[in-house]
Amino acid sequence: MSAKKLLRAFSAALLCAVFASGVCAGILTHYSYSRQFREAPSAAPSAQHPLGTDHLGRDLLARLLYGTRVSLLLAPAAALLATLIAGLFGGIAGLWGGWMEKAILAAADLSLGLPLLFVLIALRALLPLDISPVISVVATFLTLGILGWPASLRVVWAAARRYRNSDFLLLARAGGCSPSRILLRHVMPNLLPVLLAQFWISIPLFILTEATLSMLGLGVMEPLPSWGTLLKGLEDLTAVRANPWMLSPLLVLIAVVISLQLILPAREEAL
């Protein structure tokens, strides 16, 4: 096995382990992410709290595991939404051409011109700041999914355009296939490799954007943990010096993002 393949296998195993730990958070820790140990705020690691506690006395390991669940389940969900939007409109633009293609591409160009973070905080500002944590999670990732499609759309459109005058589509049209059937049954299976690649590319982007939004207080709301809300603890340098384990969410996030980037080429080659 070459070094590259070994690295990819290691990355895939790491991703599986982190994902599994997030899903099995309830089994791996018996503390709730919001339970406070008021007698032990900012505690150092111990047998009771392997990563210590935060300034409110909440177990950091429990918060990291539940935060992993939130970030690693919802970032792919947002990526899926963005990819589906890009697939649908990119497919329509690529296949039909004409004014529809021009309109969709113009919309994508205009959206690409908008700095994502500015638009995200503008949309987030529409919601009250004291919304419930669950709504804040849904709103954050839904907004990411809805706004994250333009870059993928251009790639999907370029791929779909290749099939516009292909023989198998000519045959399907001659056979009386409806436009929706042509798109969904004949073109989409051919676009699947491109869509999968775009899906994988979007996941780390959404993980990082959520982290930044939550650190600014405009993403996931306390007490629900996500990697972003956990990283807010890094603002207090004294606390980080006292308990360097507070860096563990950052290390997990870096490991996951790098792993996602390392396994992406493997998927493209396989496809």
Partner: protein, 285 residues
């Protein structure tokens, strides 16, 4: 010449369309946001019923989206973007005060990122060794995996200027793209032929490699300006720099929708203008 004039006109019309669309989007969001038309001064017990009715009447004038949009466009054409609901100051004044701070950080950040990325990419091109390649890949791989807000926190820890943090965010994306572009250009058959004829390294680079990569590099430069403005929000917010990014963050926290919409529009226009100029250069190259 006519083709160029047409292309420039195309870009300018895109900017105008974007401004109108952005303003309409902003007006729609502000108009339909929860709490629109509510004025806390109505709660003042010293006000009479007639005064309260006058305040409500003033809000009703702009209650239709189209009239609100029309009024917004008319005043924007005069350079008046309204007042901040949170700071109670004219938005145009806030823009004039804060834009130079962000522009300086963005320009210096983009220049420092490009300088570092170019040096490393050229070094990778000249000295094709695994050590240099690994060092560049590790540095860019690590920085690309950091959320922008974490880079900002590290900037606070290390007490480095805001532009260094912006540069650190842009550097990995520029470096990996630039390195691949230069390596690809360097592997072209005509470059190989020139090298076989004994053309010097410097001449090879300046006459054969860089012109080949110039187009995509110009496009990347435009994109890096857009990235820098995006990175300015968390970096200025967490580093306490009084620029547009910090203002946008505070406006979002205080739900100052007119201010945040105008800021988004202003930054969008700047980034689209930069992208358009870069694309024109790309086409020319």
């Amino acid at each position: 010449m006519t083709v160029w004039a047409f292309r420039i006109a195309q870009r300018v019309s895109l900017l105008v369309a974007l401004s109108l669309l952005g303003a309409l989007l902003g007006a729609t969001l502000v108009r339909f946001a929860p709490g629109y038309g509510m004025d806390e001064s109505e709660l003042d017990p010293r006000l009479s019923q007639a005064s309260r009715e006058a305040i409500r009447r003033e809000h009703r004038v702009n209650s239709s989206l189209l009239s609100y949009y029309g009024a917004y466009l008319a005043s924007a054409a005069r350079g008046d973007f309204g007042s901040s609901a949170w700071l109670h100051q004219p938005i145009s004044g806030l823009l004039r005060e804060r834009f130079p701070v962000t522009l300086r950080s963005v320009v210096l950040g983009v220049i420092s990122a490009w300088a570092a990325a170019s040096l490393l990419a050229l070094a990778a091109l000249f000295y094709r060794g695994w050590l240099l390649d690994l060092a560049g890949t590790l540095a860019s791989g690590f920085l690309i995996a950091l959320p922008v807000a974490v880079v900002a926190i590290f900037a606070v820890y290390l007490r480095v200027p805001v532009f260094v943090a912006i540069g650190a965010v842009i550097f990995p994306k520029v470096y990996s793209y630039l390195r691949n572009l230069l390596l690809q250009a360097n592997d072209q058959p005509h470059v190989l032929a020139a090298r076989a004829r004994g053309v010097s390294r410097t001449r090879l680079l300046l006459w054969h490699v860089i012109p080949l990569a110039a187009g995509p590099v110009a496009a990347l430069f435009g994109v890096s300006i857009s990235m820098a403005f995006g990175a300015a929000i968390p970096i200025e917010a967490l580093c306490d720099a009084p620029g547009l990014g910090q203002l946008a963050w505070l406006a979002a926290l205080n739900r100052d929708l007119p201010l945040i919409m105008t800021l988004t529009l202003a930054v969008t226009l700047v980034t689209v203008a930069a992208n358009s100029a870069a694309e024109l250069l790309h086409e020319r190259a």
